[in-house]
Point group: C2
Chain length 221, copies 2
DNA sequence: ATCTGCAAGATTGCATGCAACCAACGAAGG
DNA sequence: CCTTCGTTGGTTGCATGCAATCTTGCAGAT
């Protein structure tokens, strides 16, 4: 039968450990840590009100996911992309995320659909309002993560997340034109529609167009 | 039980965490741990001659890579596949590993080529000799890992490893027919040739054929 | 003035202690 | 006899202490 809502690719270890992991991931996503910045265990531990142990755990997890670089006796620092790496990741994303879309859409349940609609609505509200780039990026990542997490195979989820998560450091929406932004929002709405219709191929096509469009819109060079 | 690492030649050279990780990965690959078996930190620590801390680190790393399942206050246990999951992973592997091959072959340096040849030679020696399935599987994984690790993008490597590494629990060579084994060896030789020639497309084609052939040769039931 | 060597501070990695939590077993009651 | 609850042993998660290593700054020599 169907199981409870277990999130694929998110190994829950403890309690403080997960909190620290989520917090660090959020801070990296929001650009609170500069690329290449070194992350000191003691400072983070004191800042988050825990000891160094859960901080170490979280950093190791981030390292395994490729979001921070660690060197033997020097600790962790946020990854820094070359422009070429970023471009490559975009290519890979354009290739694989639509596939994840096609696989996941037929498996989405009502809660997932509701979450997609909620995220879409909140993004539209932000676009209509103050354009808070950080929060918008977070919601966008959550939106895309739904398809990845529900693609039906846990290891595929992990693999895709390894490809997509590093993109968070690029702070996607920072340099968007209003026109591209509007187009992205429409793509999201269409994705919600396709998901509600259970049409994986439609969703795949929309997602592919969405990503390729985004690639040209963010062209920073 | 094995006791080859009971005496540590290097007392303070650090990297105990990595050593434990490699050891656990090897043991899982060699089938020394049954699928679903629970891994106790204290027991592993005592067995490996270290404290629980590096063992915990290694287990968290394995969890992030999807090789062990962890539940909040129950610790880690080796993943167990459904037949469907295994089949899906094989599909994905057949789709993606040849691509990694094509990307990596033009980037291989002399040391990589030498390693491929060495691994190939050792596998042939084992096939000619005692057919030690465990060691053969290890060498085979190392052989395939070369292409994944040299594919040119670190995050793609991480993603592909997330897809391929879980397959190690299936103990690939255990139920191979001598004929299929011979064919695999020939494929490896051809891969070495293609790699030496720097021909990524050739290598890609050989790898795809190799994997698809393997899929039929192994009977997962 | 620049480079080299050293020494002190700082940081990571490992070991250990302690509390919370879970699982299993046994006893008491229906 | 079966069910239920309390107890006990064991395991994980977190905090802390300590040694090894790296970094930084300065003094001295060339």
């Amino acid at each position: 039968m169907v199981s409870e809502r277990s999130e694929a690719g998110e190994p829950t270890t403890g309690e403080a450990s997960d909190r620290v992991y989520a917090e660090l991931l959020a801070r990296i996503s929001e650009g609170e840590f500069a690329a290449g910045e070194r992350l000191y265990e003691q400072a983070l531990a004191h800042d988050l009100g825990v000891s160094r142990t859960p901080v170490r755990d979280a950093l190791k997890r981030l390292a395994a996911e490729g979001l921070v670089d660690t060197t033997p006796n020097k600790g962790a620092q946020v990854i820094s992309f070359t422009a070429e790496d970023a471009a490559t990741l975009y290519e890979l994303r354009a290739q694989f995320e639509p596939v994840a879309c096609r696989l996941s859409v037929p498996r989405l349940v009502e809660a997932d659909l509701a979450e997609l609609e909620d995220l879409d609505a909140r993004m539209q509200a932000i676009v209509a309002g103050g354009h808070d780039a950080a929060e918008l990026t977070g919601l966008n990542n959550a939106f895309h993560a739904v398809f990845v997490e529900r693609c039906g195979n846990r290891h595929l989820s992990i693999a895709l997340q390894a490809l997509f998560r590093p993109a968070v450091v690029t702070r996607t929406f920072r340099e968007y034109s209003p026109r591209s932004l509007e187009r992205s929002m429409q793509a999201h709405q269409q994705l919600v529609e396709a998901a509600r219709a259970g049409d994986g191929e439609w969703a795949e096509a929309v997602m592919r167009a969405h990503i390729l469009s985004t690639r040209h819109a963010t062209h920073h060079d």
